[in-house]
């Protein structure tokens, strides 16, 4: 199979037509090429790097929180600063770190896994990333403009009303999440259109790789979950900037409304975070067990079921708000029901390992750590779904321990597994396994030292979101143990960062398929060429790449049909880079500040800018070029390009 040696200096697209307002940048080097890129792989890398940057910020916040809790009545952080720290830690991890990590990996891998050239709407994809970055940066400027949000990541009304919280922090929260949410929404739509329409010939839905499948489910969750949040955010923005009374108790408002709207978003959000992680695990465990995923249809169906049920359990976050025993019973039962498909998934992963030939790479170690940690978090989840016990555990450190086990130990560990798994594909280089394993043995035990004792703290009556605790009720020792753990886990994270960063330059060359992978992304080069595949992959089995390598293991004597076709006469269409998505997203920054300071001129001009950028975007067309990869002959590996009419 010929791999087109293209990229770099070879890349000579035509410029935009003479009538274009903005010259479409050409080439694949320089900052402009990154700002204007519409390539899903580059955007995926940007997403992942940005997520890790925000995760770094959140880790510093977490570290300060733990230092403050080292001893009773500690005064390292004032209550005010402490509130900002845990609010920003939560907001950052949920909205700016873990969720975009899943989206980043999806950006890079979904088109490769389904044999597509890019996402369906490449420019929209760019817009989604820049909107996410704009929302995140906007939120973080709050530290320099009068203080970060301090109302918790759930921002319960009426704590957010102007009279209770006159500072700008709450406005930063509301507007920042609103802007970031736009990016998330458009990316979700993009992924749905891509996965539904752009699968390679032969890839029926029941042959779609599990990661891609669960990203499809996740994208639907995003589409249905974000609107209630957006509405709630807007209500508070209206309250604070225009004097409406949605959440003003003095005017008779029922503040519980916010909790319903927030959690009808917030619980699906949990699955928006964890389903991509399930997908990652469902790729990694089969690869390193050298066996197909056990019970693929069950994994898919249980994923869909979890996504569906995710919208029917939101008030289990509100068991103590006095909704009454009937409501609490209903939502306790639906919450229990979610435990069933989740348990089935765990058993299926165990079934995949059973009877395999397990190769213990760092990636697999993280996946196994995920299995244990996530099961533990799931078990405490069932405990918390019991409303009478939840009355005791709600808003205590028991809950903190629980959701760090499922979000941190679950989602985050699986994304670390994904990082080791897909880094060679994305960069063509391997991360040092030795450093990786040392980091694993610091990071995961450190995680347990931090979070396991927090179950005890909760049971001993320590509420969360309190910047200190009194002496003499037994909370000292476990808080000290927990803080001690941050040093171990922190060392692991620093080592992990070092291992990854040094691998960019010094990593061993990876080759196309270092793990003997099963899915299509391993059939192209590492890193893939900008056009992804030089022949159109054709899929005739679930593990599309594996079946090409080991046809006899799957089909017995039968030899599968051809694995790829040449692209048709039109060649591969490569859309042109564009400034407009970047400009439209960047214009949301002054828009946000205009809304923040109630400066209607700035707001109006920015909105006009967004409209103009959208017009430019619509009128410039997709542009770009068609490339033809020549297979065989003297010109082997060369390609020719023709410009778009």
């Amino acid at each position: 199979m010929a791999i087109g040696k293209v990229g770099g200096a070879d890349y000579e697209p035509h410029g935009a037509g003479g009538d274009a307002l903005l010259q479409r940048p050409a080439g694949y080097a320089g900052i402009a090429s990154w700002l204007t890129t519409v390539d899903h792989k580059r955007l995926g890398i940007l997403y992942i790097l940005t997520s890790f940057m925000f995760m770094g910020f959140a880790s510093i916040e977490a570290f300060l929180i733990r230092l403050q809790l080292l001893s009773p009545n500690n005064t390292l952080l004032s209550p005010d600063v402490y509130n900002q720290m845990f609010t920003m830690h939560g907001v950052t991890m949920v909205f700016l770190a873990i969720m975009p990590l899943g989206i980043g990996f999806a950006n890079y891998m979904v088109p490769l896994q389904i044999g597509a050239r890019d996402l369906a709407f490449p420019r929209l994809n760019a817009f989604g990333y820049w909107a996410y970055l704009a929302g995140g940066l906007f939120l973080y400027t709050s530290f320099f403009l009068g203080g970060a949000p301090d109302v918790g990541w759930f921002a319960y009304a009426p704590l957010t009303s102007l009279s209770n919280n006159p500072g700008l922090g709450t406005d930063f929260y509301m507007i920042g999440l609103f802007v970031g949410g736009i990016g998330t929404l458009v990316t979700a739509m993009n992924l749905i259109v891509t996965i539904v329409n752009m699968r390679a010939p032969g890839m029926t839905m029941m042959r779609v790789p599990v990661f891609t499948w669960l990203m499809l489910v996740t994208s639907f969750l995003i589409i249905f979950a974000f609107p209630p949040l957006t509405i709630a955010l807007f209500q508070v923005i209206m309250d604070r900037s225009f004097g409406t009374l949605f959440y003003v108790p003095e005017a008779g408002a029922m503040p519980i409304l916010w909790q319903h709207l927030f959690w009808i978003f917030g619980h699906p959000e949990v699955y928006i975070i964890i389903l991509p992680a399930f997908g990652v695990i469902s790729e990694i465990i089969p690869t390193f067990s050298r066996k197909p995923l056990f019970g693929y249809p069950v994994i898919i169906l249980s994923g869909i079921f979890i996504g569906f049920m995710g919208f029917a359990v939101w008030t289990h976050h509100m068991f103590t708000t006095g909704l009454g025993p009937v409501v609490n019973t209903a939502f306790a039962l639906t919450s229990f029901v979610i435990g069933i498909p989740t348990g089935v998934k765990v058993f299926n992963w165990l079934g995949t390992m059973w009877g395999g030939k397990i190769v213990f790479t760092t990636s697999m170690l993280y996946a196994v750590a995920f299995l244990v940690t996530f099961t533990l978090g799931g078990v405490t989840g069932i405990m918390l779904a019991v409303p009478p016990f939840d009355a005791q555990a709600q808003d205590s450190y028991f809950v903190v321990a629980h959701f760090h086990f499922v979000m941190g130990g679950g989602a985050l560990l699986s994304f670390f597994a994904a990082l080791f798994y897909w880094f060679p594909k994305m960069t063509g280089r391997m991360i040092s396994e030795r450093l990786g394993k040392i980091s694993f043995w610091l990071l995961v035990p450190g995680f347990y030292v931090i979070f396991f004792p927090q179950h005890f703290l909760g049971l001993m009556g320590m509420p969360r979101r309190t910047q200190t605790y009194v002496e003499g009720i037994g909370l000292e020792i476990w808080n000290q143990v927990s803080t001690f753990g941050t040093f171990i886990m922190g060392a692991g994270m620093l080592l992990l960062a070092f291992a990854v960063l040094s691998a960019f330059r010094n990593g061993r060359p990876a080759g196309n398929d270092p793990w003997d992978g099963r899915t299509l992304e391993w059939s192209t080069t590492s890193p893939p060429p900008y056009y992804d595949f030089d022949r159109q992959p054709v899929v005739n089995d679930r593990d599309a790449h594996w079946v090409q390598k080991y046809p006899e293991s799957v089909h017995g004597e039968r030899v599968p049909e051809s694995a790829s076709l040449p692209y048709d006469a039109g060649g591969i269409h490569i859309p042109g880079a564009s400034w407009y998505p970047f400009l439209a997203a960047v214009a949301m920054l002054p828009m946000s500040y205009g809304l923040l300071y109630n400066n209607w001129w700035v707001l109006g001009i920015s909105l006009l800018g967004i409209v103009l950028a959208t017009y430019g975007w619509a009128l410039e067309g997709v542009g770009g070029k068609h490339i033809h990869i020549d297979h065989g002959g003297a010109d082997h590996g060369r390609h020719r390009e023709e410009t778009d009419a």
Binding site: P158, L159, K291, G324, G351, G355, G474
Partner: protein, 372 residues
């Protein structure tokens, strides 16, 4: 009853080595129930806790066995492909049923306890035997209103054995009422009538704390529930009803008398009611700040952060922001004020004298201090 409960608890801890090694009891512990509601909540926790052990053991054992048995011994070994199984329908149905059974085992007692402990009691169903208290959350303290002008802050007195119905309200933002030894949380929400009910099995002082973020001094928003025998409770209640307007009465002890005057001069009673009257004798309407009536009967000071010793009371009055950062009590003396010490001592003496001459003083303090 008591013995059986203790037996059950020690049995539980004996079965579970990781928990048995440590003591998770304490005045604010979920695992030290002192009333039927907290007991039922703990029982459900322990039940799910037992059930979780076989699940964890199964999962970890299968993983450990697989890691040992099915690991690739070498590169060559890995290349010899294992059998490419895609699934096993019977097995998968079996392990779908395992969580189903577990969930049913949890769900049945859950629903039963839920209705037994969380059902709302309508006002028409209140009996004469019930103690009804209206609790209001403020930033950052709890007000307890017994009706008939009996209003306390941060300390709730209840009689042992009787059902206590607490009607919950919030004055500003959300708060949550939580006394782990007696009952789980119930949120206090503006414009929403919430209720929690429980009872105490024995006399004692139980710790409570606000469990919903309310900014500022949230971490210090603590309170105590003081459960005492019926007659002590009645004495305490009577002492409140009988409290004369001491704020108007000239006191015999010169230091206490000086304190009485200072409370008016320094403006304390601009916010704090003492016996329901301003210094000029006009009655105070609604009180949005802690009521200092019978302050001398208090066990604690500064939203139950400190024991009510003269030193602690003085420190709290002198340096409120150091004791409870973020709270709303003003600092009345500058650092170098030469009169500060004498004035603080006088106010402290006056406050601690309030209610001391009543019959409730010795009974309440003696009974409850003995327990912890």
């Amino acid at each position: 009853m008591q013995v059986r409960r203790r037996l059950r608890r020690s049995l539980a801890l004996a079965v579970l080595p990781p928990l048995a090694a440590c003591d998770f009891g304490g005045p604010q512990s979920v695992l030290d129930p002192q009333g039927p509601i907290a007991q039922a909540q703990q029982d459900l926790f322990l039940w799910t806790y037992y059930l979780s052990w076989p699940v964890m053991i199964l999962v970890v054992a299968v993983i450990a066995y697989s890691m040992w048995k099915f690991r690739a011994k070498s590169v060559e070994d890995a290349k010899a492909l294992p059998h490419q199984t895609h699934g096993h329908t019977t097995l998968e149905i079996a392990w779908t049923l395992i969580p189903v059974v577990l969930v049913i085992l949890v769900a049945v007692p859950t629903v039963r306890t839920l209705f037994a402990t969380e059902s709302t009691i309508a006002a028409s169903q209140y009996t004469d035997d019930d103690v009804v208290i209206r609790a209001t959350g403020y930033q950052w303290w709890f007000k307890f209103d017994y009706g008939d002008g009996v209003v306390t802050s941060s300390e709730m007195h209840i009689p042992v054995g009787r059902r206590v119905i607490v009607e919950l309200d919030a004055a500003d933002v959300l708060h949550s009422f939580w006394v782990p030894n007696l009952a789980g949380k119930r949120d206090m929400i503006p414009n929403q009538a919430n209720q929690v009910w429980f009872s105490a099995d024995r006399p004692g002082v139980f710790y409570g704390q606000c469990a919903e973020l309310c900014l500022g001094a949230h971490a210090y928003m603590r309170f105590r529930v003081i459960a005492s025998e019926e007659e002590d409770y009645r004495a305490w209640l009577a002492s409140f009803r009988d409290a004369g307007a001491t704020v108007q009465t000239v006191q015999a002890d010169p230091q206490i008398e000086r304190g009485r005057q200072l409370v008016a001069q320094k403006g304390c009673i601009a916010c704090h009611t003492i016996d329901g009257y301003y210094a000029d004798g006009t009655p105070v309407g609604g009180s949005e700040f802690p009521n200092l009536t019978n302050f001398g009967l208090r066990l604690t000071v500064a939203t139950s952060m400190l024991d009510a010793t003269p030193e602690n009371v003085a420190r709290w009055i002198r340096y409120p922001d150091a004791v409870k950062p973020g709270n709303r009590m003003p600092t009345l003396w500058t650092g170098d004020d030469p009169n500060a010490e004498e004035e603080v001592a006088a106010i402290t003496a006056y406050l601690l004298s309030l209610g001391r001459d009543s019959g409730a003083a010795t009974a309440t303090l003696g009974e409850t201090h003995g327990n912890r």
